[in-house]
Symmetry: C2
Subunit: 317 residues, 2 copies
């Protein structure tokens, strides 16, 4: 485990709780001390932790900020060049490109647990953070499915279900359902606060819901949004287009039926997806079209819930 | 009580619970039947309910959709022309204008409890809905402060604190903290759903928070946003300006520091307002500048928490 903040610290706790042998290292002396004080094998010596992983053929999990990924990948290439490697950062194409460039011999499989809070640091971590969450485990054309299964097994052991997707599909989807929500929350919080004390005094449920994630540490929001620029720009343009159309409609006809109905249908789509009846499905990992099968399942809104020796078992709507 | 939906039904229940004599009427046979089945004095005969209010000099509360206000005001002018009258609709300038036009002899004082849920109808009502909520009770230059105090007393009896504001100030503030949140939630829900099943499968906290109010009944959202067009348009323009600037910044420099920091500061402003130390304040309702004093208190983020015979007692940050 490299990085012991909210996510890394939660993975370390959760993996230890299910009986896995774990150790961690982080550039943050405060997080390393806090983890050690809680009884975990943790230090600030990232290189030593990586060398130990190489010796034991352990799965290395990178849970460092996106901005620190390159430096840690260079250390991986020196200390554990052919290790089994995953990460938990919120943007996947950039990390994939960096892994290919800076740790080309590592068996890298990108990952992203869709869980988190507005908090950060070791003390905010929680072994139960991943229970019931979607955990994207990336499948590229050249992904080693043996390595993929090891990473998927970690996610499932920690209580998540696995969504197999390419890095590009992941990045486009999170631009819509994670990065745009953070940006709209920031816009709303700024426009609301410009209304002064009276606006703050009247703020109720719709405002507190809509601005909640604006309280996230700015560095974290910057890292994920700026790091997903290519996928995010067209999604921001969609939002600008919809908001502009809404504005034009209110100014000209005075009516907002179309915009409000579209939002209502969107809300119904989420509710329907969550209530959908799921059918069982199995993907043989040794089959020639296994990668396509996994990705098709992810793109249809399906999930892998368990793994046998050579088969991924899941469900799709 | 005219109107027995979520808000009207909740006011009826809450007022009865504190020992007030209450009766209600509504155009909705379903709501009237449900209220009667729950033991309340409720019918579909709005005119009879208004005549009874005139006989007993009762406070009439309009809790009908914005689109039905004019018709009910015309009935007030016929059946209870000089009654003490308030309303609980979410836009105040429009109702004030309508009250002056269609029930010119009523002692009208606009009101708006900042409470609600995505539900609607009598069965969704709850006597505890107004506990701890801000309830705007409008103060215009010609407001009779005796009538104002009666409406404020109802709000306080029902567990709310009173925020005195002009209708125009109210409408500008709710455009920011209620109507814009509903519109941004609609935009986000539409853009998110356009991402298809994979986006819905990955949606987590930031998305569910940001789209929660998009599940509100569209007719309700249309009524409040379309009914507050004048105040809402410049607020939408502020949001468009901020989102456009953010888009430009991401496209050109790749950086979002300014936008994200502004949102973070906005979130801190809400937290600070909620944690502010409050000082006691009293406004003598018989003083010549009482209206100015009440409005200044409201504009500073203050609230009235109790009323004596001739004094409003409150607190300000």
């Amino acid at each position: 485990m490299i990085g012991l903040g909210l996510i890394g610290g939660s993975v370390l706790r959760a993996a230890a709780a299910v009986g896995r042998g774990v150790w961690g290292a982080t550039a943050s002396a405060a997080d390393a001390e806090a983890a050690a004080a809680d009884g975990f094998d943790a230090s600030t010596d990232v290189e030593a932790a990586l060398r130990r992983a190489a010796e034991r053929d352990a799965l290395v999990v990178l849970a460092v900020p996106l901005t620190a990924v390159e430096e840690v990948l260079r250390a991986v290439d020196v200390c554990a060049p052919s290790c089994l490697l995953t990460d938990v950062t919120s943007v996947k194409t950039g990390v994939l490109t960096a892994a290919r460039a800076f740790a080309p011999n590592a068996r890298y499989v990108g990952g992203h647990p869709m869980a988190g809070t507005a908090e950060s640091g070791w003390r905010a971590g929680d072994a139960a953070l991943f229970g019931g969450a979607a955990w994207v485990v990336c499948v590229e054309d050249d992904t080693d499915l043996g390595a993929w299964a090891e990473v998927a097994r970690l996610a499932i052991d920690l209580g998540s279900h696995v969504v197999p997707l390419t890095a590009a599909t992941h990045d486009e989807a999170v631009a819509r359902i994670s990065h745009l929500p953070h940006l709209l929350a920031a816009v709303l919080a700024a426009v609301g606060a410009d209304g002064g004390p009276v606006a703050m005094a009247l703020a109720a449920g719709s405002y507190t819901d809509g601005t909640r994630v604006a309280a996230t540490r700015p560095a974290l929001v910057r890292a994920m949004t700026e790091g997903n620029r290519e996928a995010l720009l067209p999604v921001i343009d969609e939002a600008l287009g919809r908001l502009g159309a809404l504005r034009g409609s209110l100014a000209s006809t005075g009516g907002l039926a179309v915009s409000i109905e579209s939002g209502y249908e969107g809300a119904q789509a989420l509710a329907a997806a969550r209530q959908a009846t799921l059918s069982g499905v199995r993907v043989a990992l040794g089959a020639p079209d296994a990668r396509d099968g996994l990705r098709a399942l992810g793109e249809r809104g399906g999930r892998i819930t368990s793994l046998t020796e050579d088969t991924a078992v899941g469900e799709v709507p």
